[in-house]
Assembly symmetry: C2
C-alpha cells in the first residue's frame, strides 16, 4: 500500500520465536507493498547508554553534563551522533513503528529502552508544550509486539503479574503517546517457550493474519481508562 | 549499625541533583556505621546489552541462543562473565539495595535496566518455583530513589502522567518483589530542575532526614492494592 514501516527488533537470535515474528512481519508487510525497514538492535550492536558521546563537538554546558539539555541543543544545531540521526530519519519516514521484543522484567530489554532514551530526544519527538496529543511525531502509528515468559493466566487483574496492560502503561502511554504517536492494540504471545509446537504455529499464523488487516485497525484510546479501568 | 548497603547509581554527572542524592546517602549511611558500596554504572561503563558475551566458554545450546537459559546454565557452573559475578556478589552481601536514578520515559534509564536484565539471572535471583515471596534474594530490602522531569501534580490518579505508583509496578513488583526482595517506600524528588534552589535544598535535607530512621521503616505491602487501589 506504499506505507512505510519501521520494525525495531530486540532479540539476539534469528531462530528465536521473536525472530519468527519479525520474519513474518517483514514478509507480510512487504507482500502488501509496504516499504519495511528493520532496526535489528543486537545485530547493530546498538548503544543503549545515554552519554556525552551522543553529542558531536562542543557541549552547551561542559561544567555539568545534562543529557536532556545537551541532546536537545545538539538536535537543534544538527550535532547528534550519526547512529541517532539515522534512527531518527527512519522514525521520521515511518507511518508505523513496530517494536518486537521479549518482555524482560515486566518491561522492554535494556537495548530497546536505550533506543527510546537516545532516539526520542526533545526537539525531535516532543517539545516544551508539545507532548501527548500534541507530541511532535504526529500521524504515526505504533504497535508493541512481544513475548512473555509467564502464561496468560498470570497476567490478569487478580493474577500475581497483574493485568498485562499495567506493564504497557509506561511504554505505550509514557513513550509513544507522549510523542504524539497513536497506539494500536498490542500483540502478545504468551509463554511461547512453554507451549506445544502446534500452539506456537497457531501464534505465528495469528500474527500473520492480524497484519493482513492492520491498516484498517483503529488506535486504542490511550487514556487512563484503557489501562486501569 | 553494621548493615551493608549497595547503591546502584545511574547518572552521568556527579554535580547533578542525582549526584547530590547519592553523596548524601553515602555520607549519612556511612556515618551510621553502614558499609556502603556504590555501583556507579556510567562511570563503570556498565554494559546494558544482554549478549553471548555474558557467558564464559561453551554455550549450553549454540544452535539457537537463548539468553535466559544460557545465563541460568552459566550461573550454575560458575560461567558468568566477571562483571556480572562482581555485581552478584555485591547484591548477595547487601542488606539494602538503593537504586538512584532520573526517571526516563516513565522508567529507569537503559543502563540501569541492563543491570537488572544481566545481574538478576535465574538461579541467582529466582528459580522455577522460587519467585515473589519465595524469590531467592530473601531478607533484603530495596528502595527506588529517583527524580522526575514532570511535577508532582502531573503524577496523580487524574493527571496525564497517572499515579506515580503505576510506573513503580514493573520496577518494585515486577523485579524486586519477584526476586523476594522487600520494598521500602520509594523516594521521589519531583522536577528538581524546575524548582528554586531553596526547594532543592529542602529536598536534599528531606532525603538525609529519611535515611536517619530508614532501618525502622516497614516495607510496603507490595501487592496489587498498593499500586492500583
Amino acid at each position: 500500500s506504499g506505507k512505510k514501516v519501521l520494525i525495531v527488533y530486540a532479540h539476539q537470535e534469528p531462530k528465536s520465536f521473536n525472530g519468527s515474528l519479525l520474519k513474518i512481519a517483514v514478509e507480510e508487510l512487504t507482500k502488501q507493498g509496504c516499504s519495511v525497514t528493520v532496526s535489528d538492535l543486537y545485530a547493530m550492536q546498538f548503544e543503549p547508554r545515554a552519554t556525552r558521546n551522543d553529542i558531536v563537538g562542543r557541549l552547551h554546558n561542559s561544567e555539568a553534563f545534562n543529557y536532556g539539555v545537551e541532546t536537545w541543543e545538539a538536535y537543534k544545531r544538527g550535532g547528534l551522533s550519526k547512529d541517532l540521526v539515522e534512527e531518527q530519519k527512519k522514525v521520521q519516514e515511518a507511518d508505523l513503528l513496530i517494536f518486537q521484543f521479549p518482555l524482560f522484567w515486566f518491561n522492554m530489554p535494556a537495548i530497546l529502552k536505550g533506543w527510546m532514551d537516545r532516539v526520542l530526544v526533545q526537539g525531535f519527538a516532543y517539545d516544551l508544550s508539545k507532548a501527548y496529543d500534541g507530541g511532535l511525531l504526529q500521524d504515526k502509528l505504533s504497535l508493541f509486539s512481544f513475548t512473555t515468559g509467564g502464561g496468560r493466566e498470570m497476567y490478569s487483574k487478580e493474577g500475581i503479574g497483574g493485568d498485562i496492560r499495567y506493564v504497557l502503561w509506561p511504554m505505550q502511554h509514557g513513550i509513544m503517546h507522549f510523542c504524539g504517536v497513536k497506539v494500536l492494540e498490542p500483540h502478545i504471545c504468551y509463554a511461547p517457550e512453554n507451549v506445544s509446537e502446534e500452539k506456537r504455529k497457531e501464534m505465528l499464523t495469528a500474527w500473520s493474519q492480524r497484519l493482513k488487516t492492520l491498516w484498517k485497525e483503529e488506535p486504542i484510546d490511550c487514556s487512563l481508562e484503557w489501562y486501569f479501568k
